[in-house]
């Protein structure tokens, strides 16, 4: 996913600078990481300083936080929620369970690496990272957006087959999310 960052127009630079300051986060409390978020939001660490607000529905959210291990059943719901989000959207994987299976590495029912199913922007290592690590990753994400490198969501549209194939292998068959990704790529001309 490290294709050359095309030359960005002045307008894109300005819009990146402005929209990096407002990111709405849909924390999909799948695993044990969700408990790390309340301290990040409240008085001590206060992530609202960076304009990051918890949002309830995927339609309004920009960041999808996968906080912990994902069983195959939950992974289906995560893919559905991801497709319901509006581009540009960023996935942040919490903890080692999303990186390489974590302590459930040899379980028969949890997925082992998140980025085979949905494109992931940043990972946070740790078997539940503390709020400081979470805020550091958010800052990293903000800077990436500012530099215009946070384009993993385009990868989902451009080579959708890779993701579709992995999903269908793990789910043993396609899931009905009522989204035609290829048609969307053409409609919104996402290159």
């Amino acid at each position: 996913m490290d294709e050359k960052i095309t030359q960005r127009s002045v307008w894109e630079k300005i819009s990146a600078k402005l929209s990096k300051r407002s990111l709405w986060m849909l924390h999909y409390c799948t695993g044990c990481g969700a408990i790390e978020l309340p301290p990040t939001m409240t008085a001590r660490f206060d992530m609202e300083r960076f304009g990051i607000n918890p949002m309830v529905t995927p339609r309004q959210a920009d960041i999808l936080l996968i906080t912990g291990y994902l069983s195959v059943k939950t992974l289906k719901r995560v893919v559905l929620t991801y497709e319901q989000m509006q581009a540009p959207k960023y996935v942040v994987g919490f903890g080692s369970c999303t990186i390489n299976g974590g302590m459930y590495w040899n379980s028969y029912s949890t997925m082992k690496s998140l980025d085979r199913y949905i494109p992931v922007e940043t990972y946070i290592a740790g078997c539940m990272p503390r709020p400081e690590a979470i805020i550091a990753s958010f800052n990293e994400l903000i800077n990436k957006i500012d530099r215009g490198e946070a384009n993993s969501w385009k990868d989902y549209y451009n080579n959708y087959n890779f993701y579709k194939e992995n999903q269908e292998h793990t789910f043993e068959g396609p899931i009905e999310t009522y989204n035609d990704i290829k048609a969307d790529a053409a409609l919104f001309n996402i290159k």
């Binding site: 529905t57 719901r77 899931i175 999310t177 009522y178």
Partner: protein
């Protein structure tokens, strides 16, 4: 052949032809279409003949009886024939093949005959005769369409008979007082009457008309009566039938009795006859509108609303100021336009899906956009929001009540409006919005013959909203003809010194606002239309088996708040009235003992009493 006799005879001809051809629907259909078209044309052309008087050649009880055309009954005649024509056009396809529709058109003709007779009559006798024909045909109209219709029609029958009896008492009393039936003569001699007698006579006439136009305590016949018949009849009845009672009130309150005599009936300071009548109208606005919240059948909901809106018309008339009366009369036309539009939309939904049960419908906007648009225009009118006509007449009524110094009647109007907005959104949401159930997947839009009346009424509702002046001209003439101050109207609103309403500017700014928002909308990127199952449901997969509409008990929380009051006050009053009537009728029943000798005694005593009275008189 005078125009009035053409109108009346033509409707009789319609009745005759339909009775002859009751077998074939097709013939009935086209006959009634042609005849009603001619009727509408005739009533439009009637305008230059206003003021002319037509007498029936022979005399009855030494009195000339006949018809006359005034601005008031021209206004009502226009409405009656217009709405009947639209109903006939709509029911060409709607009624085809429905069981019990053999006498559909005959009853419609009878009803129109009765109504035209009532509004064109120039004296009490013809008024009463045609009033009887009208109430009979309304009973017939209400009883078509299945078993529950018979019961509710019978309920109307009981109310209608009492109303006609009271009216007959009034006719006889006024004949004995004034020696003549003619309205003009009565109006002339009105000053000679003593105060309590005018009060009594006025109450008689107003109560009989209130029963017909469903004022609060005597309104319970309307919701069942109107909702159990064919839906096209619901539209026709709630559109124009109850408004004949309003015609009667306007005619008698201002035409026959005159505003000066009515104002003389003061009790203490501000509290005069009109204020008491206003309180009844206020109750008619509040109670039915909040009962409409509970209904889960579209037709019942709209029937309750036509009772509620009747309250607005009456409170406009009761306010007594030029603006208020004009508002009340204008509201008759507005209400007719948007309530018929709403019920036509409900009828097209029923025609396609077969049910009007709000708990079972949903999501029909995807399949029936024209009916949705019709219902949308109708509910904006009914709720009284600016671009549509309902707002203009409500604005008149509000201003009249506030400037006339009636705060509590204004409070009732406010509560009534909010009740309307809530129940009206429930109607459009449960029928057209939300998820489309699987069984309505292959529903299609209704045909052109049913869409035409809806388009016409939409234009009327929007046209009157933006240019109220079109109808205000006629209403101002009516006010002058009834001896009231005319309302200072302009083509698009009111241009009075004390306050101005310019609907054209309001609508223009609204369109401007929408245009600006459209530009902002286009600044954003493209958007994609998605189906109803591509929806956020907490991460769950939506499909046919999971389709869910939030229809049942849409306002549960508000019902929790209202229920204690509703149970305590309204139910207890209704139960009180019922027990009183039971006791009285039980007591009267004892007279019919069934033994011959008791009847013998009755006859003898009656004979003796009459002799005594005659002896004094001679």
């Amino acid at each position: 052949m005078s125009i009035v006799s053409n109108l009346l005879l033509l409707t009789l001809l319609g009745v005759l032809l339909n009775v002859i051809f009751y077998k074939s629907e097709v013939v009935q259909k086209y006959i009634s279409l042609i005849i009603f078209a001619i009727l509408t044309y005739l009533s439009i052309v009637m305008y230059p003949l206003v003021g002319s008087h037509f007498e029936i050649p022979f005399l009855i009880a030494g009195q000339h009886i006949g018809f006359t055309i005034t601005y008031l009954n021209y206004y009502f005649a226009l409405m009656i024939t217009g709405i009947t024509l639209l109903t006939v056009i709509f029911s060409l396809k709607f009624i085809k093949g429905k069981e019990g529709n053999t006498h559909y058109y005959t009853v419609l003709f009878l009803k129109t005959f009765g109504m035209l007779g009532v509004i064109l009559s120039s004296d009490l006798l013809t008024f009463f005769v045609f009033w009887e024909i009208m109430s009979w045909s309304t009973f017939a109209l209400m009883s078509t369409g299945g078993e529950p219709a018979h019961r509710s029609a019978f309920k109307y029958f009981v109310f209608a008979v009492t109303a006609s009896m009271i009216l007959m008492a009034g006719v006889i009393l006024s004949y004995s007082l004034f020696g003549s039936f003619d309205f003009a003569v009565i109006h002339g001699k009105m000053a000679s009457l003593s105060l309590p007698m005018t009060g009594f006579l006025l109450t008689i006439f107003i109560t009989s008309f209130s029963i017909e136009s469903a004022v609060f305590p005597v309104h319970s016949w309307l919701p069942d009566g109107y909702s159990n018949t064919f839906t096209t009849f619901t539209a026709y009845l709630s559109g124009i039938s109850t408004r004949i009672g309003i015609y009667g009130i306007i005619l008698f309150l201002f035409g026959v009795f005159g505003i000066q005599t009515v104002d003389k009936l003061g009790i203490i300071g501000k509290i005069n006859f009109r204020y008491v009548f206003g309180i009844f109208a206020a109750l008619t606005m509040i109670v039915p509108t909040f009962t409409a919240l509970y209904q889960h059948d579209a037709k019942k909901l709209i029937a309750w609303h036509s009772v509620g809106q009747g309250g607005y018309m009456l409170i406009g008339l009761a306010s007594g100021s030029a603006l208020g009366i004009a508002g009340g009369m204008f509201h008759v036309l507005n209400h007719m336009a948007y309530v018929v539009l709403i019920v036509f939309a409900i009828a097209s939904v029923e025609y396609r899906t077969g049910t009007t049960n709000l708990n079972k419908l949903g999501g029909l906007i995807k399949k029936m956009p024209v009916s949705y648009l019709a219902l949308l225009f109708g509910i904006i009118g009914l709720a009284g929001l600016p671009p549509m006509n309902g707002f203009v007449s409500k604005w008149f009524i509000y201003r009249a009540l506030i400037l006339g110094g009636y705060p509590f009647l204004a409070i009732a109007a406010v509560i009534g409006t909010l009740g309307t907005i809530l129940s009206v959104y429930k109607l459009i949401h449960n029928m057209f919005l939300g998820q489309l159930p699987e069984r309505y997947n292959d529903v299609k839009e209704v045909g052109f013959s049913m869409q035409l009346p809806m388009w016409i009424l939409m234009i009327v509702v929007l046209g009157l909203g933006v240019y109220p002046g079109l109808a205000m001209g006629l209403i101002a003439k009516i006010q002058v003809s009834l001896g009231l101050a005319a309302v200072p109207y302009a083509l698009h609103g009111i241009k009075a010194a004390s306050g101005q309403l310019d609907m054209l500017v309001v609508s223009a700014v609204f369109i401007g606002g929408i245009a600006v928002t459209w530009i902002i909308y286009l600044l954003g990127n493209r958007r994609k239309h998605v189906g109803q199952y591509n929806n956020y449901a907490g991460g769950n997969f939506l499909n046919k088996s999971v389709a869910y509409n939030f229809n049942y008990e849409f306002y549960a929380a508000l019902e929790h708040v209202i229920d204690p009051y509703r149970k305590k006050i309204i139910e207890r009053t209704e139960r009180g009235i019922a027990s009183v009537t039971d006791a009285v009728s039980e007591y009267i029943r004892r007279i019919y003992t069934g033994m011959i000798n008791t009847y013998g005694i009755y006859v003898v005593t009656a004979f003796v009493v009459t002799i005594i009275i005659l002896k004094e008189l001679i």
